[in-house]
């Protein structure tokens, strides 16, 4: 295998980033641009009684003011058209945009927004999930029936239920009726804010009927498609240019501020820039949804999981965005990494008067894994079994099926992972003394299958150009993964690879940096493009060297006749000749993962039905609890992960360490609480506690590299899943330390003291 594969080569974009010269959307300036601010709803729910923009329009420096009447009247949406660009009659969440102003300066725009006269008749917001689906709840969308679904055949929904999944296989009730024991739990999880360091921003210009949008965004083609929908124009009317991305983690996959800069650019005839303040970013961000989960399992005396029921309510917030997809996850993840008999699942995404929730690395998997793995520990305690022996007894293996009927042919990686884990974690699990505890969690995850493509061109100096809309969100998937794959496939040095920034005008389609797909999918597209490029190179070189192509070899940037080193010519010679001959060397590759076979009748409302290119993960955490203060210190954290092939082990380690840190935050410190007024209680980085360097231990990492046939050089997806099992592993460790269950995340000091008190009460009773 080429030396570029499996090597810790520094990322291609590191130098401008350490020099502070890398440009992010917030750094971009367009000549003559104005600065925009939004008027956002100050309340979570209500009716707009009056909106008077006149004073703002007349304010100094103001170039344009936009509101609902400046937009097409049709609602927009990713899978359900339920959302207006500007609220006009009702507001449905705090922070919902109502109007936008662009002025010569930011200060003038701020002042003008302050002059807008807005009167809202405030309503009691719908906040509580159980209440939202009750008979007496006000409908967040009274007109829900009229909304257009963008999925063929639609999906089950109604009232405050945005989307619903239901699976009810035969045999559940019978298994429960005859079980040795039934174990039951209820869990809850708060929202988690992606908290990328670069707040959302966007710039737009408008000329000749075309909008040019500058973004730091994970999915430029989604901006093109969704903005075209919002503005009701053809796709060709929109060009999206991507810049360096200051973190996204899923929050920069769907539309953000782009509609507002676009309409203001058209109205003012001048470029427009808009950047969120941190607080407005935080309160309006499509955070990971809060959820409630009930789970019960019928078990045998030996500990087999005979049947299961899982019911999940997840908070979609004021609009649907991707929630109709997310309701599929409770089914796919109901059994975690374990074999379980027939499993009944219901999942409902619920409208509330809160910011719409959306994608965050690991999506719903984080809390579903937390529920399932806490439940496994509970079952072990009930049956008096060792927690890990119980896991291994039920662990998925080759040939086992996920609840959707999809057969796994590589789940033996889980067993290998447990073996490795037992080898390296020498900590004794029981009686480790004091207030220390150990917790384990495992999961199966997927590699996002959506299509990607890239163009390779051999430049006339022998460097290798890669033109792609794949985005480098920081993960290294482009700056390490694609760079090293392209270099290896054509056999040049990585520093000879030049990768374009995304531009929807010039790059072929790519489905964005999501679900660990970039290295796997676009890397695979590059493998195909590289093969074609090599064919063209060898064919042209054959002309020059007067040899047969099959007698040539291409390596390390030169072509030579096999066995005749002196015949070597550099790639530049080949490229120049090809270009001069009117046959410049370029090749395109495209790839999407074919859907695995599954049982489409296993559930209704099943829009996200499979786990393509599965990956396997086992995590173990060791914690210490301060029994007087209820605080938690993470002493040790171990990850064993099946990655197929680590294209760049340093990059893979960075993804795992970073994903675990986000998971620790989710488990222990983060969490957006929603007040009864529908407003978040945490509104700043002071209140929203992100993990710091003093809080996060160095993660011990073991990679399993059982290559994947379809992946480039065997690589599977890597970056998304390390966040998934963390809350579960930590909660199991804390529960182990205190001898009491932990059923809510984030785990607060007060919750820990309560749990300890409960145990003490039982002990003394």
């Amino acid at each position: 295998m080429n030396a570029s594969i499996g090597a810790a080569i520094p990322r291609g974009d590191a130098r401008p980033k350490v020099r502070g010269t890398a440009r992010y959307a917030v750094d971009v300036e367009l000549a003559g641009m104005g600065h925009a601010r939004l008027l956002r709803s100050p309340v979570a729910a209500g009716r707009i009684v009056r909106l008077d923009l006149e004073a703002a329009r007349r304010a100094p420096g103001v170039r344009a003011v936009a509101a609902a009447s400046d937009m097409p009247s049709r609602l927009h949406g990713l899978v359900l058209r339920d959302q207006p660009a500007f609220a006009s009659e009702v507001v449905r969440y705090e922070g919902e945009p109502i109007a936008a102003v662009v002025a010569d300066t930011l200060a003038e725009a701020e002042t003008a927004v302050g002059l807008i006269e807005l009167e809202i008749e405030e309503w009691e917001p719908v906040v509580d999930l159980d209440y939202a689906i009750s008979e007496q709840a006000r409908l967040v969308h009274p007109d829900w029936e009229s909304y257009q679904m963008l999925i063929e055949g639609g999906f089950p929904r109604g009232g405050n239920v945005v989307a619903e999944l239901a699976a009810d296989p035969d045999g559940v009730d019978a298994a429960f009726a005859s079980a040795y024991r039934v174990v039951e739990d209820a869990f809850g999880a708060d929202r988690q804010y992606q908290a990328y360091l670069e707040p959302k921003g966007a710039l737009a210009s408008y000329e000749d009927g075309r909008y040019t949008i500058h973004v730091s965004h994970q999915f430029p083609f989604a901006i093109r498609d969704r903005l075209a929908q919002v503005l009701d124009v053809g796709l060709g009317r929109i060009r999206v240019i991507g810049h360096h991305i200051g973190g996204g983690f899923g929050a920069k996959l769907d539309l953000g501020l782009e509609p507002y800069v676009a309409v203001l650019a058209r109205l003012s005839g001048r470029p427009v820039k808009l950047v969120n303040h941190r607080t407005e970013d935080l309160i309006t961000c499509p955070s990971r949804e809060n959820a409630l989960i009930r789970i019960r399992t019928a078990v045998s005396q030996k500990g087999e999981f005979l049947a299961r029921e899982l019911h999940c309510l997840l908070d979609s917030g004021a609009y649907a965005i991707d929630a109709p997809f997310l309701v599929s996850l409770p089914l796919l993840l109901a059994n975690g990494a374990y074999r379980v008999g027939p499993t009944r699942v219901s999942a409902r995404a619920v409208y509330t008067n809160t910011a719409p929730t959306g994608a965050f690395r690991g999506v719903s998997g984080t809390y579903l894994n937390f529920a399932v793995e806490r439940h496994v520990d509970h079952i072990a305690n009930e049956l008096g079994l060792d927690r890990n022996e119980l896991r291994r007894l039920n662990l998925l293996d080759d040939g086992d099926r996920l609840p959707n009927g999809q057969t796994l042919d590589d789940a033996r990686s889980l067993h290998e992972a447990f073996d490795m884990l037992d080898d390296i974690s020498t900590t004794k699990e029981v009686g480790s003394g004091g207030w220390r505890g150990v917790g384990t969690a495992a999961t199966v995850w997927l590699t996002n299958p959506l299509p990607g493509s890239a163009i390779l061109k051999l430049n006339e100096d022998g460097t290798l150009g890669v033109i792609t809309a794949a985005t480098e969100n920081g993960s290294g998937a482009v700056a390490m993964g694609l760079r090293q794959i392209a270099a290896a496939q054509v056999d040049v040095l990585p520093d000879q690879v030049i990768i374009s920034m995304p531009d929807t005008d010039s790059a072929p389609y790519d489905a964005g940096s999501q679900g660990s797909r970039t290295t796997h999918i676009v890397g695979r597209a590059l493998v195909e493009a590289g093969e074609e490029l090599r064919r063209q190179i060898l064919s042209k070189a054959a002309q020059i060297l007067e040899a047969a192509p099959e007698d040539l070899e291409l390596s390390n940037g030169t072509v030579r006749v096999v066995g005749a080193p002196s015949s070597a010519i550099p790639l530049a010679t080949v490229a120049l000749k090809a270009t001069a001959d009117g046959a410049s060397i370029t090749a395109t590759g495209s790839y999407a993962t074919a859907s695995p076979r599954y049982d489409p009748t296993c559930a209704s409302g099943f829009l996200f039905p499979t786990f393509p290119t599965p990956t396997y993960h086992v995590h173990r955490a060791e914690v210490e609890v301060d029994p007087l203060l209820g605080t938690v210190t993470v002493l040790r954290y171990v990850v064993v992960q099946e990655v197929g092939k680590a294209i760049n082990p340093q990059g893979v380690a960075g993804q795992i360490q970073g994903g675990v840190a986000q998971g620790l935050g989710y488990a222990l410190w983060e969490g957006l609480q929603i007040g009864s007024d529908g407003r978040y209680r945490q509104r700043t980085f002071e209140a929203y506690r992100l993990p710091l360097a003093v809080d996060v231990p160095r993660v011990e990492i073991v990679l399993l590299e059982n290559g994947h046939d379809e992946g480039p050089f065997g690589a599977r997806g890597v970056a998304e899943p390390p966040v998934v099992p963390v809350a579960a592993a930590i909660a199991n460790a804390v529960a182990d330390a205190i001898g009491a269950p932990i059923n809510r995340i984030p785990i607060t000091p007060a919750d820990i003291l309560d749990a300890i008190e409960t145990v003490n009460r039982h002990a003394t009773a």
């Binding site: 130098r15 350490v18 200051g246 920081g474």
Partner: protein
Amino acid sequence: MNLTFALNGRTASVDVEAGETLLRTLRDRLSLTGAKEGCVEGECGACTVLLDGQPVDSCLLPSMSVARRSVTTVEGLGSVDTLHPVQAAMVDSGGVQCGFCTPGFIMVLVALLRENPDPTELEIRQAVSGNICRCTGYAQIVDAVIEKARGAM
């Protein structure tokens, strides 16, 4: 108001508004965009610059307060061809992911190594506790100092 101060080793003279922060002056008036705005609360450290050698959050620092003092931004370290040792260490260690927090971390680490050329891992972690990185989980940033930059300055 006119402000004169030493910026990256040269004298800078610029008109600023009363109450304007150094971050705005650097980014909007002097086109130095290496310092980033992450929160404007002194919580994230993305805007860190050195003031007379000490790391400060430029998002909360009134520009007028740096009159006649010395400010170093990330643009004042190294050169296009030769990175500062801390910058080079961050490249080599994998301490850079999205890169938005990176200039802020680098400024603090430069200050740390000037004060303490051989810090322990805990001292490194404590030094950067006013800096948030959402990508890396910090290990490879710490590695940049432990494995590469320690002793290189």
